[in-house]
Point group: C2
Chain length 454, copies 2
């Protein structure tokens, strides 16, 4: 085994020496957090990546609307062309791979279509774009015989999409459960560990830069919804309309819910799930009660974690950074490496979303789901409350598993919790709508399913 440095694998192969000379050109559109992070990671890892590929990679062209004002880009290198017009990047014959990292979904779609039209390989980190238009982009890239890289769209620093599409390509997935949004997981684990309120944890997340000034997209679960839509495509070969996926955020979770969860040996996480239900899929995003011993319960802070349930390989879990410019930049560059390998191999795009043949993406209604539930009520205490609530539950045929009440709360705003035996969710929802109308309620009831993890 030779010990000389930088020995090429296939030194005796004439095609290898042509690979040596080959340069693959990159065009970067968008220099926000992810764009800047990607460029920084590229500059620092370029040498290592070139050892992997056995060819040169060059950042040829960057585009940013504010490029003329940015005087801090000397580290990009002098030979990199700069423009405010993304069309110039796509017209540059030196650019083989277009990296689209603009934030606005409509602009991203225009750029993506134009890039594939121009037969540039395309890498994007825009989850909205891929969740809404993934199949169109996959079809266009197959027609143009170029590659499409989307690893950065879900859980930036983790290799989750490659794991599904390639590493576990021989698996038949039954389900996937993910903590897909770092902001909400940071908030929930702060509430869990420090005993603070949702508001306090959110303020902390904003102060640390984990949450946006307007946190709605994260807190209401919409960000996680785009991601579970993409994961469902890759796991099951079905495209699901994002707006059809039921979503529920974490803003109504209170400190007291963690106290009760703890008593029940559970914790609370915002879960994006996609599961087979016969010929349909059940897909949702919502807060769930997670058994304390489950791996997902061990995912703390701004981390992402995804549990894949296979029919033969069992449970596989990936955890890692879900956001941040440089972590997402690693994912972008991983796609660039894969595309560069395909270019060097002379191959074209195949099933960038995991499947060549698709099935209808019909959703099974969550109401059909039979699951145990946590029901938290906050009442103005007076005699007969439990009897009224129990009567309604009994009328809907719902069995009560336990009733819990922690001491130390005011009589005018008394929280207590019932756990319900596995029941159809639509039946629980109907009962809760009735309970909501009871005159002694001090806050709307909160229900959360107990996650049944394999």
């Amino acid at each position: 085994m030779s010990r000389q440095p930088r020995l090429s694998f296939a030194a005796s192969d004439s095609s290898a020496s042509s690979r040596e000379r080959r340069t693959i050109g990159l065009g970067l559109i968008g220099l926000g957090t992810v764009g800047t992070g990607t460029a920084r990671v590229f500059v620092e890892h370029q040498h290592e990546i070139e050892r992997r590929l056995g060819c040169r990679l060059e950042l040829k062209h960057v585009c940013s609307r504010s490029i003329l004002k940015r005087r801090d880009l000397t580290w990009l290198g002098r030979e990199v062309k700069r423009t405010r017009d993304w069309r110039e990047v796509l017209r540059d014959p030196g650019v083989d791979v277009a990296i689209e990292l603009v934030g606005t979904p409509s602009t991203a779609l225009t750029i993506a279509r134009a890039a594939l039209q121009a037969r540039k390989h395309l890498v994007t980190a825009n989850k909205n774009l891929v969740a809404e238009h993934g199949r169109e982009l996959a079809e266009r890239s197959a027609q143009a015989r170029v590659n499409l890289g989307i690893e950065a769209c879900v859980a930036g620093g983790t290799p989750i999409l490659h794991a599904i599409r390639e590493g576990l390509a021989g698996e038949h997935f039954n389900a996937l459960f993910g903590i897909l949004n770092g902001t909400t997981n940071y908030i929930l684990t702060e509430m869990e560990q420090r005993g603070c309120s949702f508001r306090e944890a959110l303020a902390e997340a904003q102060a640390r830069g984990y949450a946006e000034p307007d946190p709605t997209l994260d807190v209401e679960g919409h960000d996680a919804r785009y991601k579970i839509a993409i994961l469902a495509m890759l796991c099951f070969g079905r495209s699901v309309r994002v707006r059809d996926i039921p979503v529920e955020g974490i803003a109504r979770i209170e400190q007291v819910d963690f106290a009760y969860a703890h008593k029940l040996h559970h914790t609370i996480r915002l879960i994006g799930a996609a599961q087979r239900r016969g010929e349909r899929l059940m897909v949702f995003v919502r807060p769930m009660m997670i058994p304390g011993a489950a791996q997902l319960a061990g995912v703390h802070g701004a981390t992402n974690g995804i549990l894949m349930v296979g029919s033969k390989g069992g449970n596989t879990m990936i955890t890692g950074r879900g956001a941040g410019g440089e972590a997402t930049g690693v994912a972008v560059l991983s796609d660039v490496v894969e595309i560069a390998r395909a270019i060097l191999a002379g191959g074209a795009s195949t099933s960038p979303l995991g499947y060549m043949h698709w099935r209808p993406g019909k959703l099974a209604p969550v109401g059909d789901n039979v699951v145990g539930a946590y029901l938290r009520l906050v009442v103005r205490d007076r005699p007969g409350i439990l009897s009224r609530v129990c009567t309604i539950l009994a009328r809907h045929g719902i069995n009560i598993d336990s009733v819990l009440q922690e001491p130390g709360h005011s009589k005018s705003r008394l929280p207590f919790v019932m756990t319900l035996e596995p029941t159809r969710e639509d039946r629980v929802a109907r009962a809760v709508r009735e309970i909501r109308r009871l005159p002694f309620l001090a806050a709307p009831p909160l229900t959360m399913p107990f996650a049944e993890l394999p």
Copy 2:
């Protein structure tokens, strides 16, 4: 977005319809646990995998030395050719991908060389083969312009090798720490959770089929050593000689070590590690003290877990099944899918071991490592013992962090523990060699480093 079933991605592309008709033929050599598992997973997942590929996959030829005696293979299908001679599989022009799953490394090497010589794509699950001859196979596959699949060699059910080579191809890895052997992890977690002895846990593992009748390869760490050698190749682009990697097994761990570890808020795991040390690598397999809150401490039973430490993407962890015929079969088939995609795309092999350019795989001596250590002594109690031990440690310039002694042990065989402040490991080793000669020792001293996980 169309909802009709089995819609092809690129229905308008003429190349897609030629893909439709394409059949890719598989030849399976070896029908032991992994071979049978692979065939079973193939039969059950074939339809799903063909949806992914948009082409037919066919098992054309199987080879097993005992094929004539096996009457239980009707589920393989009647059209599958059967032979006792692997050369026939490689001569079959219908076989595009040779799947080598024989156990014996020397036979595996002969078959692998012949398969690449015959320009068959090659998938292997033989970790010895890849750890010892990986670069040779990679060079031969590059020359033959065929692909090489090795995912099944490490942590069968997990997509760890694809994660390193593709999903995180844009990362610059600093280190990797893995629980790479399910048998030893099962034994250690049984000792941890049930408080049983090593012998009892081993017997339990054997009864459950997690351990071989002769468990040496697992228990002494040799199985994990092959795997860390492969992981080091993929992470760092350096080939390390397997026999140069220091290895230490778990047979000397006693129940009392878990009691002390617990007191120190740690647990014990057999860790394979590969870390950058300047221009060298530090690679080893040995039991380590792992902080109780670390993700690796949460890997229980016959599960594998691998923590990758990147310089930009942070820590990424993958856990899942490490062994078993069907879990390993999923990994084998995942490689088959990847190779089929490459065949359909018209591409050839590029950097199957992650790198085209290699660096010398020089190992840094473990003795240079500065690390805190756990030192357990078992003594025949009498006055002056601690003073003798402390004198030796002081003479070697080693500071003691704490001394622990659990009650309830016999005076004639009294275990106690010292934790040592971070010190060069070779210095600790020299001191321990001196301590070992003290007359009051009832058993050789045991040292374990405290893992410093990022």
